[in-house]
Symmetry: C2
Subunit: 306 residues, 2 copies
């Protein structure tokens, strides 16, 4: 199987109550790929500038991520995001965003990237998401993320993009905003009525909830005493979720989606333990599987009679 | 087994985006008892005024709740709370609180109430909680709830009260406020260091998390498309949780606590479907068990190999 992701490849400046970094590797496609790379062959599509060096590329390559479709734009700089968090780590405060190479990005997928069986359209302008979706028609499972900015400024395009995917992974506040429906169960149903068969509502430290046409499943965030930087948690979740579905599931059914929720939760939990990609870049599959087992036991009701 | 609860017995005026009631039966001890009454023999301790009639008493009696320790204060009025909710049903806005009979309340338990094996100190002034705790020394399992008001105005008493119980059930924002610890896992550990062996963090629509010395367990809120009035959800949760532990568990171990979390979740979910006690008052045990089964299947990871 194989998985293609389009999204940002970035340098991030982040400060939290637990530390700061002035310039570190980040971006939705990067966090996603480092997580998904544990499970399957991942191809990244996205632009970088002259300032993106072999050192950053190596972080992806060390996870086995295929970087052939990373487009280098001469004379331009890589996407840059600066933000901070207060003690409420659920809310990111953006201080600066420089689109740089993303300003004129026109995604053009190689044959290998177009042939992917799983596709993730990370949080970028929805017209770009649609261009990529159109180049990847054969995908067994396509998913997208989005954000309040696009709900407010590109709503029609976003609704079209949603109608073209199988799954939407989005923050719960944004699914309410998108649908104008304060009740999450109704909001999720409204999204499914647009086309997708699954909606994952990301809920920060509270975990994530999966809505399908026949079912509901939810997992808490993995309990951690040390959370240093939540940047990229949602993309790490998506990477664990879609990477597992692509690489280790013969069919995408309810049971597979639930296990995928588990791997998403696990990858997100490692991501937030340190800044940027620091923790996930040196993570091992054994650590992933062992935390997955811990999560299973934490959510086990027990089979003893009631 | 038997369970004693001390808390408010009230008339509530509530408005939400989905309707309003000018005066309905409410109060923490009432919501708790109607939930716990499915599982065990419940005795309510608390004061009421002349305005509390046989009609209100009958709601409790119909669930089998023993009302002998409800103290009628002549010439006084029953505790009254008025509040409203916006679309964010997680936040109650208080418009009026009249202590009335609660102003001079000195709890005095009958022999039968004192002999309870399980004790719940609902959210009242912590010195009153301690007076009741002192009269109920033989309880196998004692738990309390509290709120920001007491954290701010009676902190030392509250810390003493916490040190005297086995379990604290409290909103997650309040456990952070109580301990000054923004990380929930650390905050829960700080509470356990005061004495309790279990901490239940109530998280509104996100569900509830159970911290014990060796374990962690969490359940999402039961997904509902129609939530009309969240008043009393936390007390219904506590009623399901402690009622089940008291009435149907030979030992209070990790497995029992997890199942109790399930019954708490189920009772809270019925409570919020209609105003005040309306839904829970006509609820049946079959409905409880059937929703518990639904919750089990919603949280089942499946046993298939990863």
């Amino acid at each position: 199987m194989s998985l293609t992701v389009v999204g940002s490849i970035a340098f991030d400046a982040v400060s939290t109550p637990f530390g700061e970094r002035e310039r570190m590797l980040g971006g939705s496609a990067v966090h996603f790929s480092l997580a998904a790379g544990f499970f399957t062959e991942v191809r990244v599509v996205g632009p970088v500038g002259d300032d993106f060096t072999a050192k950053e590329m190596k972080v992806l390559e060390d996870r086995g991520v295929i970087t052939d479709d990373i487009e280098r734009v001469p004379g331009a700089e890589t996407f840059f995001w600066k933000g901070h968090y207060e003690y409420d780590l659920n809310t990111a405060h953006t201080d600066d965003t420089r689109l740089n190479v993303f300003g004129n990005f026109q995604p053009k997928l190689s044959e290998a990237s177009s042939a992917a069986e799983t596709l993730f359209l990370a949080n970028i302008q929805p017209d770009l998401q649609r261009q990529v979706r159109a180049q990847c028609q054969g995908a067994r499972f396509a998913a997208l993320d989005s954000m309040n900015l696009w709900i407010e400024t590109a709503r029609d395009s976003l609704l079209e993009a949603i109608s073209e995917v199988d799954c939407v992974l989005i923050n719960d506040a944004e699914i309410r905003q998108l649908t104008g429906q304060p009740n999450l169960a109704r909001a999720a149903r409204a999204v499914m009525e647009m086309g997708p068969k699954a909606v994952v509502a990301k809920q920060g430290e509270y975990g994530a909830a999966l809505f399908t046409r026949d079912g509901f499943f939810a997992l808490p965030g993995f309990p951690l005493e040390d959370v240093r930087d939540p940047t990229g948690a949602g993309d790490s979740f998506a990477g664990g979720f879609l990477g597992y579905l692509d690489g280790e599931c013969d069919v995408v059914d309810e049971a597979a989606l639930r296990r995928a929720m588990g791997f998403g939760t696990v990858l997100a939990s490692f991501n937030v333990e340190e800044f940027g990609t620091e923790r996930v870049a040196r993570l091992t599959r054994d650590e992933v599987d062992s935390r997955m087992e811990a999560l299973r036991s934490m959510t086990d009701f027990g089979r003893s009679p009631v």
